[in-house]
Amino acid sequence: MGIFSSFDISASGLTANRLWMDVVASNIANAQTTRTPEGGPYRRREVVFSTRLEEASSPDLKGGQGVRVVGIVEDESPPRLVYEPEHPDAREDGYVEMPNVNAVTEMVDMLVASRAYEANAAAMEAAKGMLMRALDIMK
């Protein structure tokens, strides 16, 4: 594990959380979308994080693991039913299948993603400070 690997680890966290934020934004934007290319209402999406082994580190080292998004999966919970017979996408019984997006959940996810992004940026800043401090010894 090189002295610079903490930067790559923090960078992987930043990338992953930015992608999560994209997914949350998509969920919020499509909270009322009843039509999708696949048919049916929009389904809420979630990101799946997995640890990522740094190329330079050996598997027996506990440190040196970054994170990466291995997939974006759809939330399989049933759509929200709203009674609105005059809606063009209403079913025979007058109910419209709305996306299974909960605005409160999305807001919480958004907060977590943005704080996690900040935390990774702070970790990167701290690593930078440490190395710069090491250079000061030579001055």
């Binding site: 930067f7 790559d8 960078a11 992987s12 990338t15 930015r18 990167m124 030579m138 001055k139």
Partner: protein, 129 residues
């Protein structure tokens, strides 16, 4: 031509490294500027392996300056990194991290160079400050 001060190869090696770092910074800036350009592929400047081979090959400094001149510093297009849907493979955060690492390496090289110069200055002034 590599810099030769009193037969000291430190300046030549550090100078080469600093040249590479400044090129690398420009390449990183270009990558960041094109973070949203469809089809753009990021570039990088690999030179460390070649430099360390040369340093290991010339233990006593024999022929070091000549081989240093042979180290070509150029940006290479990175086709290996996975691309996004728009064909672009720049990861903004990864690029930032490269930039910070590069900054620190540059600061390290310039600090070593400065302290080396201070040693010469100390000797030239016969130990007086």
């Amino acid at each position: 031509m590599a810099l030769d001060v009193f037969g000291d190869t430190t300046f030549a090696v550090l100078g080469k490294a600093m040249d590479a770092y400044s090129l690398r910074h420009r390449v990183s800036a270009n990558n960041l500027a094109n973070a949203a350009t469809p089809g753009f592929k990021r570039s990088h400047v690999p030179f460390e392996v070649e430099l360390s081979d040369i340093l290991r090959g010339s233990e006593g400094g024999e022929g070091l300056l000549e081989s240093l001149d042979g180290v070509k510093l150029e940006a290479q297009v990175d086709h290996l990194t996975e691309s996004r849907e728009d064909g672009n493979n720049v990861d903004m955060e990864q690029e930032m991290s490269e930039m910070i690492k590069n900054n620190i390496r540059y600061a390290g090289a310039s600090t070593v160079m400065k302290s080396k110069l201070q040693m010469y200055r100390y000797v030239i002034s016969e130990g007086r400050r």
